[in-house]
Symmetry: D2
C-alpha cells in the first residue's frame, strides 16, 4: 500500500485506548499519528501502558489538531458526544466511537453513525463515515442470536453471561479489588444490563416483529479478559438445521466461527475471534458464544471496522496470537 | 454429653472423605473411630490429607469391622450400593451415603434411604436410619426453587450454574489441568446434568402436578470451591411477596439464609451455608443461590444430617470460619 | 468455664478486625462485648463483613467505654499509639495491638508491651498485660530462623517471600486492582521491608552477637491469603541435625510444625498454623515456611496471645478447618 | 522476500510445538510445510490446538521426509538426540532443538550445536547450522547475570524464581491439578534445578574464573505462563554504574530491556521480551527478570534463532501483542 492510513486516538490512557494503541502499532497499513491524553501529555506512552516499553517511543499529546484519516474515540459513556460537540473534528476524518453514545442511532455535529457489528452491517460499514462500535456483552449475545433472527425464528431468550474484570475498566472499585474478586462469582444488573437496548435494536432490524424478551443475567467472573455467554431458546428446528443456519450465516465472516467442539473461553483471549457452539435437547437450543471483551468486544472490532471503512482486508492487523493457556 | 457418637468413614482418601474427616475431628460430639482406605491402610491420614499434619495421628485402616453408630460412605457413584451389598454392615449402624446411588429412592440390603436435604425433609431425616445425601448442584438449585414449589407456583425454570474444580474430584483429567482451567469458562452436560433427576423428584414432592422443565446449563469455573446458580422463573408474585415466602420457608433452617444484599460466592466458602438472593423485573424472578460444593453440597450436609439423625443441635460442629476473601 | 472473658475490638471494619471478630464469635471462652467502628456505628456487623449474615446480630458501636478484660486494637500503623494516648482505657484491661506501633519496644500511657510471638516469648506473654502482635512477614521469617539463632549459628540470610493481596489491606490501590494483580508477580520494598526491624530484634534476642544481614526480597502474589518464604543460609550442620534442632525447638508449640514433606502454602490457609520445611545441598540450608497472613500472621496469633494472657489452652478457639484446596 | 523459508516441526502436539506453530503461521517469511505427530497424523491441527480453529486447515503429518530449510524439534528431553540418530535428516536442513539434549555441547550425527541465547552468542548463531535452544529458567536467570559476568564481577548468587504451570507441560500430574495449584505456592528442586548446568556454562564462558555458586530456589506459581526471577548479588558497583552496564550490554538486543520502573511479570506474557529491573541497597544488588516461559523461554526464542540463522530481521514474526492484563 502506497500511503498509510493516518490514525489518532482520543482517550488513550484507558484499557480500550491501550488495546487500540497495541493493535495500531503493529497494523501494517496504519500510521498512528497521535494518542491524546490531557493528563499524560508529554509522557511516553509506555509510562502508562508499561508493557509497551521497548515497543514505541511515542508520547501522549494534548494536540488533537493533527490531520488524520480516522479518529478512535476511546472515551467514557457520554464523553464521546461531548467531545464531538466541543471540538471541531474535520469532516473528512472518519470517526470510530467505542462508547455507547451513538449505538442507538443518535447523531451529532452533522455525523450519523452506523452500528459497527460487521456480522450484521458489513456493507453499510464499508460506505460509512462514522461507526458506533458495539458493546462487549452486546457483541457476544448478538452473535449467538442473529442467525435465528435473520430467518424470523427467534423466540424468548434466557441468557447468562460472565465477564472479566477489564469490562469494569481501570478505575479502582470495590468490585475490582483483587481480594474480593479472586475466586468469587456475583451477579449484577440482573435483567437490566444497558446493552439490552442495542441487542434488541439489532434483533428487530433482522426480525421486525420480534416480540420476545431477552432475559439476561450478567455475572462478574474471577478472570481479567473475556466474555462467555450461554443462551437458551425454544425452537423446533433440528440441531443439524441450526448448525447449517449458523455456519452459512457466518461463512463469509472471518472472525466468527461455529465450532463442532466444546468451546473454551480462553481460546479466544487476545484474539478478535468469536467462537459459537450449539447444543440441543428436546426443543431447547443452547447457544454458547465466547469473545475477548477488549478485542472483538471493543478495540479489535474497532480496528475491524476501520479495515472495512478503508477497503483493507477485514483481517489486516488482526491475526493475533492467542494466549491459549 | 456423656457418650460420643462413634463414626467411621469408608473411602477416606478423596475430597469428600477428607472434608468429612476435617469436620468430624473438630466435632464436639463425635469420636472418629476409623477411616477406611484399602490403598492407604496403615499410613497416617496426614500423608494423604497433608493439611492435617499436626492435627491428628490417626492412620487409615483396612478394617471396617469396628463398631460404629454411623458410617459415612464417601465413595464414587455406583460403589456405595456395591459396598453395602458386599459387606455386612451391622443394621444398628446408621448409614450416610454421599454418592448418588440412593437419591432416587433405591434401597439395598434391607436399608431404605431418606433424601437428606434438611430444608425439604428434616422431620423424616430425624427418624431415619439411612440417608442419601444430595448432590452439590442439586442442593444449590433446589434451595432456590423449593419455596415456590411448596406453594404450587413453580413454572418453567432456566438456570445457569457454575462449579469449582473440586466438583470434578481428585482424579487427574484434562478439565482439571491447571493450564486449561485457569482463566477459563466452559459448559458441560448442557441440559442433561444427572442432578436434574433428584431435583425434579423434590420439586414434585412439593408440587405434584409440576409439568414445567428445569433447563439447566452447568459451567466449569476457574476456582476450586463453590457453586453459584441463577435461576430465572416467570411469576406474577411481587418481589415483596416472594421475599416473604422464601424467608418464612427458611426461617427455622439455620444454614439457608435469604439475603437482602447482592450475594457473593466466596462468602459461603468453607461454611455449610447457602445464601439466597432474589431479584425481580417485570414478571421474571431471578433467584441466585451460593454454596460450598464440598460442605453444604457434600460433607457439611452429611454432618448436618448426622446431627439430625442423633438428635444433636443441627449446627453442632458446623460453625465454621468462612474463608471470606 | 464459669465466666467468659469479655473482649472488645477497636477498628472492626478492616480485614484483621473482621478476622478477629470471626475468631472470637466462635471462641468457647470469650464474650465479644463490642466492636468499635465510628463510621459504621449502629449498623449490623454483617453489613460490612457480609459473610457473617446469619451468624451474628451484633452491631458496630461507637462507645468504647464498656468494661472488657481485653481490647484488640485492629488499627493502622501509628493509630494504635494515638488511640491509647487519646482515650482512657482502664488499666485492668489488657491490650493486644495488631499494629507495628509497639513491636520495637516503645511504651505509652503507662503500658509496656511484650512482643507477642509465642514461639519466642511464651513465658513473658503469659504474665504480660500488653502485647505487640508481630507482623505477618515477620512471623513467617522468624519462625524459619529462630532455632538457628537460639544455638548461635545463624549467619547471613537470603530470603524471598510472597504475600497475598490481603496483606495490602482493604483500601483500593493500583496494586490490589484485580486486573493488574491476577496472573502477575512483582517485587516491592526490595531489601527494605519494615518488618526487618522486628526480625533483627528477635534474632539478636537469641543470638546477641549476630552480625549478619537478612536480605529480604518481598513479592506480591496473585492470591488473596497466605505467605510463603524461602530462606537460604550457609551452615555446616547436617540436615539431620537441623531437622532435630528445629523439631525440638517447636516441640511444645502447637501451631508450628516441622514437616518431612514438601510444604504447600494453601495447606495452612484459614488456619493458625506455620509449616516449616528444611532442605540442604552442600553447605546451604533452605528453610521454607508458610502461614496464613491474616491468622498466624495477625488475628489468629492475637487470639493465641489472648489465650496465653488468660491462662486458657493455647489452641482454644483456634482449631480451624483449613481451606485445603 | 522472494522465497519463503520452509519449516517443519517435529513433536507438534505439545505446548512448545503449539506455540511454534502459532508463531510460524503468522511469520511473514516462513512457509510451515509440515507438523509431525505420529499419534495425531491426519487430523487437523485445530483438533489438538483448538484455539487455531479458523486459522489454519493444516493437518498433522506422519511423514518427516518433506524437504525443509529448518526443522524445529519440540520433543521431550532425551528424545531429540534419539530422533536425530534414528532418522536421516538431510544435512542441509538446519535444526533448532528445544530440548536440553545439546545445551551442554553434545553433538550427534555429524551435527554440532550452538547454544542459542542471542544475548550471549548472536554472532555464532548467525553462522550456525544447529541450535540448542536454552531452557526457560536458564534464559531468565542468565539475562539477569550475564552483564556482570562479562566484566568479570559476578560473585555468589542467591536466586528465587517462580514459574507458571505450562513449564510442567501438558501431561496430567498432581502438581498441575487445578485444585492443588490454584492459590498455592510450593518449592521444588531446591538448589538442584537442571538448568543450573547451562547457566554455569554460560557464566564461565564470559567469566572463566567464576568460582561462586548460583543458589537457586524454584517455586511453582498459581498462574499458567511466565517466569519471574530475583537474584541477589554482593557488589561494590554503584546502581548507576550497574544500570549503565546492563543497558549497554543489551543495547543492540531488541527483546531484552532494562526498565527504570518496577517490572511486572504479566507485561511480558505473550511476548518474546525479557524485562530487567535493578535495585541496590548497601552492597547488595537485586536483579529482577521476567519472561514468558513459552516464548522467550522456548518457542519465541527458537523463532528468534531461526531469524538469525537465515539472516532475517531478528524481530521478524515476533512483534506480538502482549496480553497486558
Amino acid at each position: 500500500m502506497a500511503t498509510k492510513i493516518k490514525a489518532g486516538i482520543i482517550g488513550g490512557a484507558g484499557y480500550t485506548g491501550g488495546e487500540t494503541i497495541r493493535l495500531l502499532l503493529n497494523h501494517p497499513d496504519v500510521d498512528l499519528v497521535f494518542v491524546h491524553s490531557r493528563s499524560n501529555a508529554g509522557n511516553p506512552i509506555y509510562t502508562v501502558h508499561t508493557d509497551l516499553l521497548g515497543d514505541t517511543s511515542l508520547t501522549f499529546s494534548d494536540n488533537i489538531n493533527q490531520p488524520v484519516d480516522v479518529l478512535f474515540l476511546c472515551l467514557g459513556h457520554g464523553e464521546s458526544k461531548k467531545f464531538l460537540e466541543e471540538n471541531s473534528v474535520p469532516q473528512n476524518a472518519k470517526v470510530i466511537d467505542l462508547s455507547q453514545d451513538f449505538r442507538l442511532g443518535a447523531s451529532t455535529s452533522g455525523r450519523t453513525f452506523v452500528y459497527g457489528l460487521p456480522e450484521l452491517n458489513r456493507e453499510e460499514i464499508k460506505s460509512a463515515n462514522n461507526i458506533a462500535n458495539p458493546g462487549c456483552f452486546a457483541t457476544a449475545l448478538q452473535l449467538g442470536l442473529l442467525p435465528l433472527a435473520k430467518v424470523g425464528k427467534l423466540s424468548e431468550v434466557y441468557t447468562t453471561g460472565i465477564t472479566g474484570s477489564t469490562g469494569a475498566g481501570q478505575k479502582l472499585q470495590e468490585t475490582t479489588h483483587f481480594t474480593w474478586r479472586a475466586n468469587n462469582i456475583s451477579a449484577y444488573k440482573t435483567l437490566t444490563h444497558q446493552h439490552l437496548l442495542e441487542i434488541n435494536r439489532s434483533v428487530k432490524q433482522l426480525q421486525p416483529g420480534y416480540s420476545g424478551a431477552i432475559n439476561f443475567v450478567p455475572w462478574r467472573g474471577d478472570f481479567t479478559r473475556g466474555i462467555f455467554v450461554s443462551s437458551c431458546i425454544t425452537t423446533e428446528e433440528s440441531l443439524e438445521a441450526l448448525v447449517k443456519l449458523y455456519s452459512e450465516y457466518y461463512s463469509g465472516h472471518p472472525f466468527t466461527i461455529v465450532s463442532n467442539e466444546t468451546i473454551d473461553l480462553k481460546h479466544v483471549i487476545n484474539t478478535n475471534k468469536c467462537l459459537i457452539g450449539l447444543e440441543k435437547e428436546g426443543n431447547k437450543l443452547v447457544v454458547h458464544s465466547a469473545i475477548d471483551n477488549l478485542l472483538k468486544g471493543a478495540s479489535g472490532q474497532a480496528v475491524q471496522n476501520m479495515n472495512l471503512l478503508f477497503g483493507l482486508a477485514e483481517t489486516a492487523g488482526l491475526k493475533l496470537k492467542s494466549i491459549v493457556f
